[in-house]
């Protein structure tokens, strides 16, 4: 028989028992919609968290002198930094290069003090590289004007009991081994989604920190790429001409816990898909089982008038595939509508996850890779399970089937 006819029969068979088919398709539809929506939201949260961390804390790639990442030793500055910066800026795929000084020190206010990381940044470059400006809640970003400005976080401001325009004293160990202190004035207060960053970091101008510590060469070059997905290529290009004794690290190395969290979310996604496929598989298995049991005589008849085992089998599978696809595509459409609504109105994430760098309100957008996982993987797995009862038709005993 022609495929067309088989498919047509399969289609009509679906509607012979409307209730049963509709219940199954409903299960698939709801399952797929909920799965797509939840997985997409989880991925969106993980991705947003990662993007925020990369944009505010590390940037895509960083260059350090070997050993600096582990020790943060004041004297581990980059050799021939200016030449390196020029070369990096000329590398294709590199959008911004910013030099930084990173020094541990004590920030002292009249009431309290903070032991943390003091970052010296070049305002012009840093404002193009980092999105910290988006998280300013008071005041403005660092600029080249004014005397010794400093950016601190809302948390630090609360802890130190200081406000905009308050004076803070930074004490660091200088290159000559003495303790050096300098007065800075708060020009801006930020609040990023990441509590650890907020609690530990203050930002000052590169030149001010250089004058204080006596260290002029940078500890760190932060590199932002034009297109973050070209990470491997750009890294290779940069790596080709790196001076000896320096190292290039991407965000995966610099933010290991976030990279691990990304993996965790992917694992949850796979688990989710597997469990849903198995759950739906049971449903489809049962439907197929009933179909085979009810229609034994009819299927036997098809065989008797000359259909091969395989074409009858194929017809049954076509029935499953059609039901599955209707449910899956419907579910994906419904899920996409949910996501669209969430992207418009936002999902309120429970408060207090700032510790993990999660924004309180999420606006997820659809991740196309998920469509592939859900539509492809789940559909395939579910169908595979339904093959078990369907295969009974291959062992059908014609004489007995017709007697029923």
């Amino acid at each position: 028989m022609m495929n067309r006819t088989l498919n047509q029969m399969a289609w009509r068979n679906i509607w012979r028992n409307k209730t049963r088919s509709l219940v199954f398709m409903g299960a698939a539809l709801l399952g797929f919609a909920v799965a797509l929506f939840t997985l997409n939201t989880m991925k969106a949260i993980a991705a947003q968290r990662l993007r925020d961390a990369i944009n505010v804390q590390t940037s895509d790639v960083q260059v350090h002198r070997k050993g600096f990442v582990d020790d943060h030793e004041l004297t581990y500055t980059l050799p021939q930094a200016d030449a390196l910066i020029t070369r990096l800026r000329q590398t294709s795929g590199v959008a911004v290069v910013a030099k930084r000084l990173v020094v541990n020190g004590v920030v002292t206010a009249p009431d309290n003090n903070l032991v943390g990381e003091i970052k010296g940044v070049v305002p012009r470059d840093e404002n193009r590289l980092s999105v910290l400006g988006d998280f300013l809640v008071e005041g403005g970003p660092l600029t080249d004007d004014g005397r010794s400005p400093i950016l601190i976080s809302r948390r630090t401001a609360d802890k130190l009991h200081v406000r905009l325009k308050s004076k803070l004293v930074i004490t660091v160990k200088a290159a000559n081994g003495d303790l050096a202190g300098g007065v800075f004035r708060v020009v801006g207060i930020f609040a990023t989604p990441s509590t650890p960053f907020d609690e530990n970091t203050v930002l000052v101008r590169y030149n001010d920190l250089a004058a204080l510590t006596g260290v002029t060469a940078p500890h760190e070059l932060a590199v932002k790429l034009t297109n973050p997905s070209q990470l491997a290529e750009v890294k290779a290009a940069i790596n080709a001409g790196m001076p000896a004794g320096t190292q290039l690290d991407d965000w995966k190395v610099l933010l290991p816990e976030l990279f691990a969290f990304d993996g965790f979310i992917n694992m949850v996604g796979i688990l989710f898909t597997l469990i849903i496929s198995l759950g739906l598989g049971f449903s489809l298995m049962n439907t197929m089982n009933m179909i085979v049991a009810e229609r034994t005589r009819e299927l036997g008849m098809l065989r008797a008038i000359g259909q091969s085992r395989w074409s009858v089998f194929r017809m049954l599978i076509a029935e499953c595939v059609l039901m599955m696809l209707i449910g899956a595509i419907g579910g994906v459409l419904l899920g996409t509508v949910f996501i669209g609504l969430a992207a418009r109105y936002g999902i309120r994430i429970s408060e207090g996850l700032g510790m993990l760098g999660i924004r309180p309100v999420m606006y997820p957008t659809l991740d196309p890779a998920l469509l592939f996982v859900i539509l492809g993987l789940a559909t395939l797995l579910t169908l595979l399970i339904s093959l078990v009862p369907a295969s009974r038709i291959l062992r059908l005993n014609l004489a007995q089937a017709l007697k029923q």
Binding site: F24, A27, N112, V115, H161, P256, A260, S283, N286, M290
Partner: protein, 404 residues
């Protein structure tokens, strides 16, 4: 009733394959949800255990201390006061600590550190810090030296017997400065702590910070870890408003956060699974009714009430669900018991990240009897809901038409 029950049981046996698939889907859902949740809860228990080893079950500070952790917000400490607390009901240990940040200098390098003034004997009985000793000897109450985390000592290029210089802010704007011989080194699991902790006897720390008779916190451990809230309220009432009493839950929000993320993921995953399994069950129950319209008609014709037929359907589906729950629990219980007794050791990256949190790197399923009860009753409730669907069909059943 007895007869109906027998009838129901036999009806389930009539379509053996279908009943088996329905039962296995219920059992599968239970097995998956219980195992997954047991794993999460087991992990959570381990995190709490490790966490409370660090911060105690309860902490007492001077009111407002925890937000700023300022050296100026200390509380008076005396043996009498500790004694008094230790005698309160339900408390096993009282540990006094005086903690603040400082800068530690070695030969050439300086690093921001946390100075912990501890009561060595009691602290050790609780946290077993001396068990982590890698070199030298542990401090005693009268010691004049310090114990340093190994990573920090390596960074400062100091060994046992060398002198470390500590500089920081003392109580009420006093300068805290001193030279201390390193008496021993401890290896801490968390890399960040391993780079930042210095321990000294409480009297020495009080002298260093010019804070005689003062402490920043009392750590309390309880006989029963589940009694934190009542004990907290009792202590808070006794101490009055000048103090804040906090539970480990408030002190370690990251445990709560990670549990919240886990719970959300689990709730979503299991509702998705139950939704799909539930729809499958509805399909099964529906088919059980629809295909037997004629049979029900005849049952009515020979004198059964509609209510009895309804009861029969309810019994059949509840039996199906009940058998599924029993099978599911019978599979889950030995599995969870076995995995609880034989934890899987974690190696590689994930093992390291567990160690970093001070948590034993194993996957161990927690034993939570209430979880079995909860999941079992959810599945039975779903089954009960599924039986509502065919009720309408029975009501609309017309004997005369049905037996045609």
């Amino acid at each position: 009733m007895n007869q109906l029950l027998r009838l129901a049981w036999r009806n389930i046996g009539r379509k053996r394959r279908r009943s088996l698939i329905a039962i296995s889907s219920v059992a599968f859902a239970l097995l998956v949800s219980i195992s997954l949740r047991s794993l999460m809860l087991g992990n959570y228990d381990k995190m709490i255990e490790a966490g409370t080893k660090n911060v105690g079950h309860l902490q007492i500070h001077s009111a407002g201390y925890w937000t700023g952790k300022s050296i100026n917000e200390l509380m008076t400490d005396s043996p009498a006061r500790r004694q008094q607390l230790a005698q309160a009901v339900g408390i096993t240990h009282v540990l006094a600590r005086l903690q603040n940040g400082a800068l530690a200098s070695g030969e050439k390098t300086t690093k921001a550190v946390q100075v912990n003034g501890i009561d060595p004997d009691i602290e050790d009985g609780f946290t077993n810090l001396s068990g982590r000793l890698s070199k030298g000897s542990f401090i005693k109450n009268q010691s004049t030296g310090v114990v340093m985390a190994e990573g920090l000592a390596r960074y400062l290029k100091l060994g046992v017997g060398d002198t470390v210089v500590l500089i920081g802010q003392g109580y009420q704007a006093n300068i805290a400065a001193g030279k201390y011989p390193i008496q021993g080194m401890v290896r801490l699991g968390n890399p960040q702590l391993n780079l930042s902790q210095v321990y000294m006897p409480l009297p020495l720390a009080q002298a260093f910070f010019s804070a005689d008779g003062l402490a920043s916190a009392y750590l309390l451990t309880l006989v029963d870890a589940n009694q934190t809230d009542p004990v907290k309220n009792r202590i808070q009432a006794t101490l009055g408003n000048g103090f804040e009493v906090m539970t480990w839950n408030e002190l370690l929000p990251e445990i709560k956060n990670s549990q919240r993320i886990d719970t959300t993921i689990f709730t979503l995953l299991s509702s998705c699974l139950y939704l799909i399994i539930g729809m499958g069950l509805i399909g099964t129950v529906l088919m059980m009714t629809l295909e037997r319209r004629r049979e029900f008609g005849i049952l009515q014709a020979i004198g059964l009430q509609k209510s009895q037929i309804r009861l029969l359907i309810i019994l059949e589906s509840l039996l199906l669900g009940f058998v599924g729950v029993v099978v599911g629990l019978a599979l889950a219980l030995p599995f969870v018991l076995y995995m609880n007794a034989h934890p899987i050791p974690l190696t590689g990256e994930s093992g390291k990240s567990f160690e970093a949190m001070g948590v034993e790197p194993v996957l161990q399923l927690g034993l939570k009897p209430h979880l079995f009860a909860l999941m079992g009753s959810i599945v039975l409730a779903i089954m009960g809901l599924a039986t509502l669907v065919p009720m309408g069909i029975v009501s609309r059943l017309k004997t005369s038409e049905a037996i045609k």
